[in-house]
Assembly symmetry: C2
Homo-oligomer: 204 residues x 2
């Protein structure tokens, strides 16, 4: 669905390079890609990590499923094809942000492994940090922060719902796996910060 349509285009190098932008920022840039079921805590953990990084002087930004769906991807629904295009666009935007030297955090269910792998492929080695927020369907359905599981179970929601009538394909080798069943949001956020520290992401 994303074949190259425009011809007569050539790649322009930016006058200012990515390393130069990172140098001005004072830190490396990367994409922290949170994935997991609805209600697993992706957005909450991402925003908590974002706040912690901001406090440390890291220039960050959060791309959030619902927010993106009201802007860039407002013309996409929840069919398999639209989910794939949704993630493709978000991957490309993440790449642009990281190229700008910004540490970007994305919080999307991103249920299909192939779609996430494609994002990994368009980024440099080490630039894609897959964070699997591993919480069971039971946990997520019990929390149900947006009341979506309830709507789906009652039949009020017709769209395919990840984990119920649409598949969730867990990452096989995520950089970080978070125990969303047993840990608090702050503990999960600290686990992410620890990974970034231990792997040299928080220095220039």
């Amino acid at each position: 669905m994303a074949e190259q349509k425009a011809t007569d285009v050539t790649w322009h190098d930016h006058t200012v390079t990515k390393p130069e932008r990172q140098k001005l920022m004072g830190h490396k840039s990367a994409v922290l890609w949170f994935t997991g079921l609805s209600g697993a805590g992706k957005s909450t953990v991402a925003n908590t990590v974002d706040h912690m990084l901001h406090q440390k002087g890291i220039h960050t930004f959060v791309l959030d499923g619902d927010n993106i769906r009201m802007g860039l991807n407002k013309n996409l629904g929840f069919s398999a094809e639209d989910r794939t295009e949704n993630i493709r666009r978000i991957g490309e935007v993440s790449k642009l942000f990281s190229s700008a030297g910004v540490f970007v955090l994305t919080a999307f269910i991103s249920p299909y492994r192939a779609d996430r792998d494609k994002v990994r492929e368009i980024l440099e080695p080490g630039e894609f940090i897959e964070v699997f927020v591993n919480a069971s369907l039971e946990t997520c359905e019990k929390r149900d922060p947006k009341g979506l599981y309830k709507k789906k179970r009652s039949g009020e929601m017709k769209a395919p719902f990840t984990g119920i009538d649409d598949p969730y394909e867990a990452p096989l080798q995520p950089e970080i796996t978070l125990d969303g069943d047993n840990k608090t949001i702050d503990e999960l956020a600290e686990d992410v910060i620890a990974y970034l520290k231990n792997n040299g992401y928080l220095t220039a």
Copy 2:
């Protein structure tokens, strides 16, 4: 074409606000939107301004027509509908960058007035700076840096071409008009920097 398809979405406030992100950056953020014919000098001036701003310690990024068309908008062509969707997506991405505190420069023909006005509408007052790179068709065709006019005139290029068989609607009230027929690239870039200084964009 961009009606809201996804239902059951709610707007999340980022924990870190836009003013907080701007404060960490040390400057305001905005969108410098360059528009004009192919060959008018949009990309070259935008990259020159980008370089100048970077030298001043401003965190910037350039969104460029051809680069975006090889990534985010690779599945769009040059029909009127695709051109509109092209600009819509770029507008939304520009908004995200500006929300992140980054000073974004866009260099797209963006031929339709209504499409540019829609971008202005989704941004805050003063956040959209329309830069009309005003160069005549004669000037642009004489330069023809990518050989596109030649391809079009010879019939090798079939796609509609702005200024020849596709309309260019010049801005009615751009914040900045650049004299692309008579000034050098450096002079045009200095004109942009002067506007930003005089209007308080380069301070926190």
